[in-house]
Amino acid sequence: MITTSSKLFYGLGAGSLVASIVWFIANDGGSIGSVALLFAAMSLVFLGAIASFTRDGHVLSTDTASHASSGAAQRGVRNSIWPLGTAIAMGFVVVGLISSPGIFKVGIGLLIAMLGEWMIQNWSERGSSDAAYNTKIRDYVVHPLELPVGGALLLAVIVLSFSRIMLSLSHSAGPLVFAVAGAVILAFGTLVGFRRSVSTRVIGAICGVALTALAGVGVATALDGERPELTKAAEEDHFAHRPCGEEEEEADENASQSVSAKSSVQATVILEGGMLYAEVDGFEGAQQSITLQRSNPSTILFINRDAEPHRMVVKYGKVVEDLGGGVERETELEACTSKVEQDGQQAVTLTVPKPSYASEEPFEITVPGVEGTKIDLVVP
């Protein structure tokens, strides 16, 4: 039904929508203004819908009979937690204003939710003299929002708390705790499933306590921080630069054997019997020189036939950056695989910015630890 006040909202909403479109066209696709106006339109339509929904708050304006029976006059007012919720939300807002914008935003969201609930409850309590009926119509209106949002929040609390706890535990304790958590849930289910005498209330209480405990521990561990290894790993970022010398590193045992799935590489470099040679599509036989195009992302596959693990290193000159004020920084350009076990293979993709004849250092492919063998890289 289109009520008086909803007309206003709908009208404004439609106006904003038109304005949004006009803005878009006028500003040649400029988005910010029109998105803002679109928001306004949506909010206004939403308000209009609420006004329609609640019939401007006049539940029974047309029903003279129920006015006469004064059902609506005797309000079945119930206890309400919404004023309290609103107060808490306001607290959040104030705290947020002082401390952090995050809390402020949470507060604003909470405030809107609480005021909305409060409003709907007020509306429902003017529905009739029958409290049960009023609850019913309240639920009818808010459940579609309350239940999914509540469910999503519940899920988020469990998932987030649990993952925070896991993050703070040590690497070895993690799986253990995880297993214990699963087992506890299962055991709880089995227990309750077979002992039918346990009352719903008790189960609910246990679940509530468990949930609160989980959330509490989650918050505590989140504040406490993640386990030291992780913070350290994040700081050091030890995968940012792959070592290109003879250093040992772990976990190369199965170095990317799937790379062979990649067909049509620029070249395949093979280390066999202490010699390095290349196979290049289109050229017959072993090559000691590879021609790559400048600025072209090129993939080179390395296959190690040697018993020892080795890595391939490609050196392709250096870049000089002008850092301003006459200061220059030279960076050696090199790319390398990680160490590859016997018969393992791994690819590197590199882009050579400058031609090889412009460089003083030779462009070449080598294997650290295997001397006297190399492949020349020609970049015309």
Partner: protein, 671 residues
Amino acid sequence: MAIIERPSAEIAVAGAAPSGVKPSEALGVFKRPAASTSWKDWLVTVDHKKLGIMYGVAAFFFFIVGGVEALLIRLQLAGPEGKILSADQYNQMFTMHATTMVFLFVMPMVSAFANYFVPLQIGARDVAFPRINAFGFWCWLFGGIFLNTSWFLGGAADGGWFMYAPNSSTLFSPSHGIDFWVLGLQITGIASLTGAINLIVTVLNMRAPGMKLMRMPIFTWMTLVVQFLLLFAMPVITVALFLLSFQRSFDATFFDVAAGADPLLWQHLCWIFGHPEVYILILPSFGIVSEIIPVFSKKPLFGYPIVAMSGAAIGFVGWGVWAHHMFASGLGPVSVAVFSMATMAIAVPTGVKIVNWIMTMWGGKLSFTVPMLFAIGLVVQFTIGGLSGVTHSVAPSDTQQTDTYYIVAHFHYVLFGGAIFGLFAGFYYWWPKIFRKQLSESLGKWNFWLMVIGMNMTFGPMHILGLQGQPRRMQVWTEARAGEGFFNIGFWNRIASLGSFILAVGVLLFIINIIYTHKSKKVAIAPLDPWDARSLEWMTANPPVEHNFDSIPTVNNLDEFFHRKYAEDPNTHEVRQVATAEEVLAELNAHPDEHIHMPSRSYWPILVSLSLPIICYGLIYNRLLMGVGAAFLLLTMFGWAMEPSTAPDDDFDPPAPGEGGGHTKELAPLG
């Protein structure tokens, strides 16, 4: 008989409301929608026939959009160094022409026919999931509109409908066009997937008694095959589109060659979807033609089981030929050889169909009505398209032809000369069933001939253009390289452009025919069975009532309706009429079923699908808007989940004797 479709006004909100409060008043505006004849009913309907009509109307609108795009392309190429469109606009134009014609015209037009006629042909009262059906339609429509709003928001997608990586990444296509394209296709993809599940379940599960699989009309058969193709093809393109949108929106590296990516991944995903898609477009038209040719030959379809099974075979083998789109993409010779052979293999079941259509007409009693003309047009033109297809299943030959106008000619013969001619045959054939009036035959013939001439003039010369080396997707051609002589590349380009406008006039005549038929007082209401048809959809009122059949027919034969009208002497094979269509229908309706419950209308399908474009606009412009859309989605899905598909039993009026379902006010609880 009582057809009960509407809940009564007497029921309260699950329990007694206080006296004096009518629930309908207390609950605000969100009531379950009631039956009505106003435009609002079209928004909330779950009736497969109304949804079919809406699919058809909207798809035809997009046909005109795509057609205008095509005409602009031909205008640009009518002369050397065309100046009508800039390079950028041209690229958008051919991208959107293909996208519109494939995803927004042929596929939904097929959905239109399938929605309307599959339940009728198998003797069902609706599809298996009516609300999901409505949801699918709205998803498709909103997806299509969303896709086309890109024209006004900084330009449409410009990467070609195949959208090869890495040309589709933000580096090479910085406008939002491809974002709109990706997200729009995701939304319409939901429609295809839900539609596929819905129709498969309908066909498998809701057939009338005696309607064995091998008694189903071929159109239903082809629809079933196509829905299985969709079911398995849509998730593949969904994955590809997700990868692309993650790349464009969240900087994922899937197609970033500098990080080691392989651009052929996109091509494989695209064509694993794309090739079955070709059969998705053409098989329903094969189905339509297989309905029409027997009717106007007065003979059953020749080799019915072979036609049905060859459709299924095409569906299977169609999965093994995708790489024939990639013969020049650098596959190894072994793969090329294998896919080349598989492609030749698929020509066999396709050829079988053509043979069977001709054999159906052989020895028949042929009447050349407009639907029949379009059907024969399909047979001839599809043969040309099929044979040119065989020439590029020969992979070495294809390396000369691919990405030239020869391919454009080939697939327009298949898709325009085939699929669209089939759809037009369907329009003329089923128009009287849907809209009660028969389209004018004389205007229809003009329509047909202009389309035949226009189509062959447009796409015929493209064979020559392609063989003489004119590549596709060229914004301009130049006189300098058009060759010498009068019949050079320039000449054939001009002919093709001229033909395209003749074709457009042909399509325009169809629209004029519709207007004439429905505005003119001279055109009478069509008889119940104007074509002397053979299948169940004609055994209904004109147009069909909401519940389709007053009583569900029991099926004893292929071509059940024909067999109820005619009897064949077992010895002399003489066929004579034993009943008129009216008599058959009257007999069927003599003992109507009691208590037919039709699914109730619902707001939720349109509301849920409305949230999807909001989320997508949010993804492109503002993540906050995405949140709003997601909240809206959550809310509406909750509403949907809480709403029973059919208002429960005690919501219904007791049968009103003799009234047949009065116009009662309704109410069903929302929460």
